[in-house]
Symmetry: C2
Subunit: 348 residues, 2 copies
């Protein structure tokens, strides 16, 4: 028996997968002729299908039904067979328009982007913010605000300025804060956040004189920032789309999946894309998590500035419209990266 993937076998497999993606029903030899227009008799196709099944690319739900792609089949499809859809001008414009988001904080922006992507693709979407392990401190500013509080503002070199309002037991004097600000800017700016040691903070305290009593607040804030920057935040959008696919008409399955996805920690562990721009497919059992074994995840990454990478992706049944999806996702991610890197007047 011919166990090579002849061009004809590829054509059959491709036609079958495309049909199954569209109609979500096992595809028979006759359907292949009638609906996909393959120029062979159904008997010939049956031969091919038997061999494709033996090669592991197809499966049969039961003995007398049509064929269904196996995960390996999908894998071959996305790697070699599928034809990438180009985007129409209109689609490009829709995506571009969606990027005019007003939010200023990174995470709000990502959430909005995810919601839009979910609207666009009609799949459930997850998004991960970048893990920011190298934040550089650019500037400090401390000033009083209200009766007995003061504000610490820290400017970093990534997309955000962070601040905190502090209420110390002893009311801060404007002059003392000004002095402390000067010392902080003198001693700490230009440093990477991770490199701000206790030793350095002690030297700030020494230099700050009486304003030194406020140093612990600054140190505490920096510690919080370090922690906050260091972990990715995860978001999910468009959960209701999951219920639109027939494979999740089993309510228990749908529920388990959504429950799994709503755990941010699990999301963070989810498939991450390989390299910028390109799209990664993780198909069914290729997923590590038990809960995703019959689910596919398609991910792209977006870049902020130089080396910060966040991820945005789509979750759905293995029978996803990979071809259509991947081009949209890739374009979307590249646009998102551009937006966040400050194509607008936004961002340092």
């Amino acid at each position: 028996m011919n166990m090579e993937l002849t061009p004809r076998k590829k054509a059959v497999l491709r036609a079958l997968i495309e049909d199954y993606i569209q109609y979500a029903e096992p595809v028979g030899s006759k359907t292949l002729v009638e609906r996909r227009g393959l120029e062979f008799s159904s008997a010939t196709l049956r031969h091919e299908m038997v061999e494709l099944e033996e090669m592991g690319f197809l499966a049969q739900p039961h003995i007398s039904s049509g064929r269904v792609p196996s995960p390996r089949g999908y894998r071959l499809f996305v790697d070699e067979l599928m034809e990438y859809h180009g985007l129409s001008e209109i689609e490009r414009e829709t995506i571009d328009a969606s990027m005019r988001l007003k939010a200023k904080e990174l995470d709000r922006l990502i959430v909005k982007a995810g919601e839009f992507l979910s609207l666009l693709t009609r799949y459930t979407v997850y998004a991960l913010t970048p893990r920011i392990d190298q934040v550089r401190l650019l500037r400090f500013d401390l000033f009083t605000a209200g009766d007995d509080t003061f504000v610490i503002v820290v400017v970093t070199d990534v997309h955000t300025v962070k601040n905190k309002v502090v209420r110390p037991p002893f009311p801060p004097a404007e002059g003392a804060l000004r002095r402390l600000t000067a010392v902080l800017n003198d001693r700490l700016t230009g440093l990477v956040l991770r490199d701000v040691t206790q030793e350095r903070m002690r030297s700030v305290t020494r230099q700050a004189g009486e304003a030194g009593v406020y140093v612990p607040y600054v140190a505490g804030f920096l510690a919080e920032l370090l922690e906050e920057f260091d972990e990715r935040e995860a978001f999910l959008a468009g959960q209701s789309h999951m219920l639109g696919h027939p494979e999740y008409h089993d309510i228990l399955k749908a529920r388990r999946l959504l429950e799994y996805l709503s755990d941010g920690r699990e999301l963070t562990r989810l498939a991450l894309a390989d390299s910028d721009g390109s799209v990664r497919f993780v198909i069914g059992p290729e997923n590590e998590a038990e809960e995703l074994r019959d689910t596919s995840v398609v991910t792209a990454s977006y870049r902020i500035g130089g080396n910060l990478r966040g991820f945005i992706g789509v979750v759905g049944p293995t029978r996803m419209d990979y071809a259509r999806l991947s081009s949209r996702l890739a374009y979307f991610a590249s646009r998102l990266g551009r937006l966040l890197s400050g194509g607008e007047e936004e961002a340092p």
Copy 2:
């Protein structure tokens, strides 16, 4: 026929509703005796049930089945019949512990709170931030950051400090920004954001000399802030819980509802609680939105500081555990308000 709500009728109705809430199955006269321990024969209870049905408190899915509470029945139940569960010490502590949230931004805090409430109640939760129509400007600060950008920081009297990074076509000089900052603080602090007129900004420009070229950036930022503060933000959490209730085993129903709820604008229009602390129930057809006609919404409000009110609530089938829910929700909302009003060192 006795059309008055005798104490016995109330007892029957209450027992029936409690049973239905627990088991989600039409309740028969025999069940009332055996499971709820009513001290009458099933025949007597059948008499009562006929009358309760005629009064509109019960309904019968079909002629030979048990009874189910009608929306009017639930209404009576929450208004008069149900017995509020107290919270155990452990539950109180669990809620209190959940309030030690690290997030600094208001909306992130609300999201986290909503996620926790959903975990606690096992229902889908929605949350609305307060509508902040009276923001007072406390302080401005402008400074350069990086090569050709500068940062505008605005401190307000509500829970947040806002900032924006701006990249003007002409690099800003440190001195000019210092001067502009001084003018802004002189002319605008203490004002309510809404009262910052174009006229006022023009006078700032005049006073700022050469730094006046940067005033439009500040004005633009203030306009954005006004818009941002003025609208509530809406969040949804725990969507997967919806699928846990048998009334949403109809996937189409579940999907429609989740789709409706994932539209933030619709959420904003959702039932709002009446007064602080107390909990409001909107039962099935009492909802204005068509999509919520067989869904109940239970809402509480939380206060930030003096007069800002946000809402947090729970969405589920009309067969909700109102008694258990309301006490938990009320306590949760009051705790949330306390947290946000600055029980911690947080917030101006």
